[in-house]
């Protein structure tokens, strides 16, 4: 296929105020300069190897939920998306029109979840997520980023969290949840800034903003498990990172530095993260490395792994099991990115008496279509997500169950949207929801 055969993105352009504004300020010279700066100055050999080894074989097409959901339309295939974006930029040396950048931004930000499923199907292991991330990096440097995710990145830079939560609002949320939880567990405390605790528990900003019950549940679980934990009272509590997905790596680094330095300052042994996938990717894999650490300076444990630990060590004892049939959704960033598929299943089976696997499953499971920052691109692109994940809707429907266990915030958002849109009659649950419901609570009033 040649680039000229693709016209897909031009036909499905969606109006976004900041994409329009950003493109209007571009010149061909600036585009060329930025493309060279990123592809030669930042990407290096990895990109060149991918570009030179991609055979355009199309094996990746059937791996992509967008492509599957659009009846195999090749412009939605991973190679098709790379062809319309990075391969075109490399082929032309960045000599493209501003209008081309609009389409490339739309593809990179809204038609690829950076889920890396296609890596498993590529004969030479090309990481499309990495390539599309670089396209986003170029778009960021050109100022062509969808409005809503750019606003989220601004929130990160202004408040060090994703949701414009002010310092006192964060504290107020914890105080409130502690008060609420004491109604159930009178001696419960949410330990702020406890120096030397075994772990710092970090969450994403939607928890204090919209889903405070998750903080409540976590506090009850940790309290009743008798673990030594703390939460920070100041910035560094939010582990999320939309800057990683806009391509603003400098802000990504700043966020991760803040997060890790808070853990180092409190002298905790490790960081346990709430049920979020993209934040895990940022803290465990990407942001830490941008800062110059080969690994993470403080060990990172995702909730799936931590819950597994609590259950296998007997710190949580179950009073009952969840009886309704459930299925398991595998979040990309902790399954393909960390290999937690077995522990996720062990925890789910421990909690639920009837688990129905999806097909495909584990590292081959389909993405929720919300991750990679796509859901954060906001209402203009919601339709793209819904249409782009018909495959997931079919997969969910085929299980015949009504409860989906998904240990990831973005996955909840994406799955709930398609459940509603495709009228699947299902609902989602976090592992924390199930543990809270099923565990013994010896300290309860």
């Amino acid at each position: 296929m040649s680039a000229t055969e693709f016209s897909g993105i031009a036909e499905r352009r969606i109006e976004d105020a900041n994409l329009v504004r950003g493109v209007s300020a571009l010149t061909r010279e600036r585009i060329e300069r930025v493309v060279k700066a990123v592809t030669k100055g930042e990407a290096g050999a990895r990109l060149a190897v991918y570009h030179e080894t991609c055979m355009r074989c199309g094996m990746c097409a059937d791996a992509c939920h967008y492509c599957i959901s659009h009846d195999g339309d090749p412009t939605y295939s991973p190679v098709g998306k790379m062809e319309q974006t990075m391969w075109k930029l490399l082929r032309t040396g960045g000599k493209v029109d501003p209008d081309d950048i609009y389409g490339m931004a739309q593809i990179a930000y809204t038609e690829c979840n950076l889920c890396r499923r296609c890596v498993h199907y590529c004969p030479v292991g090309i990481d499309t997520g990495y390539v599309m991330g670089l396209v986003r990096r170029i778009c960021h440097r050109l100022g062509v980023v969808p409005l809503y995710i750019q606003d989220t990145a601004h929130s990160h830079s202004g408040t060090m969290n994703q949701m414009w939560v002010k310092d006192d609002e964060w504290l107020d949320s914890l105080v409130w949840q502690e008060d609420e939880a004491r109604g159930e567990i009178p001696a419960l405390r949410i330990p702020f800034d406890k120096e030397g605790a075994d772990f710092l528990y970090s969450v994403i900003a939607p928890e204090p903003k919209f889903r405070t019950q998750l903080i409540y549940q976590a506090a009850v679980i940790f309290d009743q498990a008798g673990v030594d934990w703390t939460m920070p009272s100041a910035p560094g509590w939010d582990n999320s990172d939309m800057c990683m997905f806009t391509g603003d790596y400098e802000m990504m680094g700043r966020l991760k530095r803040c997060h890790f330095e808070m853990a180092q300052k409190l002298k905790v042994r490790r960081i346990v993260m709430g049920e979020c996938g993209h934040a895990f990717r940022s803290v465990y894999d990407v942001g830490n490395r941008w800062l110059g650490w080969k690994n993470h300076p403080v060990p990172i444990v995702h909730s799936v792994e931590f819950f597994w630990e609590l259950l296998t060590e007997g710190k949580i004892k179950l009073a009952k099991k969840f009886d309704e049939p459930v299925t398991i959704h595998d979040p990309c960033n902790i399954i393909r990115g960390r290999g937690l598929m077995d522990k996720l299943r062990e925890v789910t089976h421990a909690l639920c008496s009837n688990v129905v696997e999806m097909s495909p499953t584990r590292e081959h499971n389909l993405c929720c279509c919300a991750g990679g920052g796509v859901i954060n691109c906001g209402p203009p692109f919601k339709g793209v997500r819904l249409a782009g994940n018909k495959a997931k809707a079919d997969q969910l429907a085929a299980t015949g169950v009504h409860t989906v266990v998904a240990p990831c915030h973005n996955c909840h958002g994406g799955l709930e949207d398609i459940i509603h849109h495709y009228k699947l009659g299902m609902h989602t649950k976090f592992l924390g929801d199930l543990i809270y419901d099923c565990m013994e609570k010896p300290g309860a009033a």
Binding site: H140, D168, D172, R189, A234, R269, G292
Partner: protein, 451 residues
């Protein structure tokens, strides 16, 4: 809410105290009479008092003579216990208690949904929507962040800034502890109003008065040693970073910068800057250290301005400390807690592998032993000795010049050096901790530390 056993000089989450702060500002020294070597039991058993439902983990005064804790009383109210006495007043919440260097005990308290500060049990006259981020300095003022009617700023000894803002964070204190600064949002922002944001809504307010200019972002304001000028990291556009001093940005911009610091001798400002994918150090906007590091942060000047220190990564994944751009020969995957001696000629830092196997490194030389955790090193006033609190298999002790103290605590606090002597002879270290349930203070001599 729980309390912290830490005795930080800065509030959690705020810009770290400059690396020299522990030595230069120093923790208060106990009265001379309190430096008699040996053990003194402050509380044989710091169990909850009769009528108290529980007490939080205790904290000790800097001189080791008093121990305090948050307690929950029979009527469900919270208050502070100091030794065997409790404050008269009870509150709905007591949070973030700490002893000040002069011995006063301060805590943030809440009653009926309103927040204020209690000093030795006496609350400030007014209450506020929220109080957090306690700070204190040599001047003895009690300083915090404040929110009142959804306007934000700082409050000093119960007096809020005259002007409060849409938001405030990154709170800072001048070296003399008298002046305050914070990043403030001066312009309201609507939902997804990225145009206004991009034009700049953030500034720095010093004692409540904002700079005359806004930036897209501002972080980590810091005062000079004359308590006069303030420098901060600023972002001019999505890809342009620099440093502003009293609101005036450097003429040069960089793809990224980290926290600036003032040269105490000349007033020049240094800051780590990124250039062509590597990190170096700029001085007043001009590259001072070649950008050849994979990371460079936590800069600190010696008091005479002769030496500039920072944590650097000469190779990817390999960190150390550099003085005047020359790295120590030692390297580790993680290096933290850079602290300078009072004269700034020496430095100590901590190194770790995977947040375990912590090592203490002084002047590039690694002390023997690896520890499960280590705390910020403390230099003696003469600069010849270094003490570090460490943890090993659940027990804490203190190292002096690489040698461990002969005993171990269940919980310890940072060591405090005795008054300076001309040649370091007769040097004593105050150790504070809980051992076998008793709160103790020990004045140790070098002989008490095992070879």
């Amino acid at each position: 809410m729980s309390t912290s056993t830490a005795t930080p000089q800065t509030a959690h989450g705020q810009p770290e105290a400059p690396p020299a702060a522990h030595a230069a500002a120093g923790l208060p020294h106990p009265d001379p009479g309190d430096w008699e070597p040996g053990r003194r039991v402050i509380a044989p058993s710091f169990a909850p008092l009769p009528g108290h439902q529980w007490q939080e983990e205790p904290l000790m005064s800097h001189d080791g003579m008093h121990v305090a804790a948050v307690v929950r009383q029979e009527d469900d109210s919270f208050t502070m216990r100091v030794d065997d006495e409790v404050w008269d007043a009870g509150f709905d919440k007591v949070w973030s208690p700490r002893f000040l260097p002069d011995g006063r005990l301060v805590a943030i308290v809440q009653q009926d949904g309103e927040w204020t500060v209690a000093v030795d049990g006496e609350t400030w006259p007014d209450t506020y929507g929220f109080i957090w981020s306690l700070l204190h300095g040599p001047a003895g003022k009690v300083i915090a962040a404040v929110q009142q009617d959804m306007r934000y700023g700082m409050i000093v000894d119960g007096e809020p800034w005259e002007t409060l803002y849409e938001n405030a964070n990154n709170f800072a204190l001048s070296p003399d502890g008298r002046r305050t600064a914070a990043v403030v949002q001066t312009v309201p922002l609507g939902q997804a109003d990225i145009e206004t944001f991009t034009r700049g809504v953030y500034s720095v307010a010093v004692d409540g008065e904002a700079w005359g200019r806004n930036f897209m972002n501002v972080w980590t304001p810091v005062f000079d040693n004359r308590n006069d000028r303030v420098a901060a990291q600023v972002r001019l556009s999505h890809s342009e970073y620099t440093v502003a001093v009293n609101g005036a940005p450097w003429p040069a911009t960089f793809p990224c910068v980290w926290e600036p610091c003032f040269d105490p001798a000349t007033g020049a400002v240094a800051a780590p800057v990124r250039k062509d994918g590597r990190w170096g150090m700029a001085l007043d906007g001009t590259l001072l250290w070649e950008a050849r590091f994979f990371q460079c942060w936590t800069p600190a000047w010696s008091p005479d301005g002769r030496h500039l220190w920072a944590i650097v990564a000469p190779r990817y994944g390999s960190f150390t400390v550099a003085r005047d751009a020359s790295p120590w020969p030692f390297a580790a995957p993680v290096v933290t807690d850079l602290v300078l001696s009072p004269d700034g000629a020496r430095a100590a830092a901590l190194a770790s592998h995977d947040n375990a196997a912590w090592q203490v490194v002084v002047d590039g030389v690694v002390w023997p032993g690896r520890w499960d955790m280590a705390w910020r090193p403390v230099f003696s006033p003469c600069g010849r000795h270094v003490a570090v609190r460490v943890k090993d298999r659940g027990r804490e002790t203190v190292l002096l010049d690489g040698r461990p103290w002969r005993e171990a605590f269940t919980t310890a606090w940072d060591p405090v050096f005795g008054p300076a002597t001309a040649n370091g002879a007769g040097m004593a270290v105050l150790l504070r901790g809980i051992r076998d349930g008793a709160c103790e203070r020990w004045v140790a001599t070098p002989d008490d530390f095992r070879a």
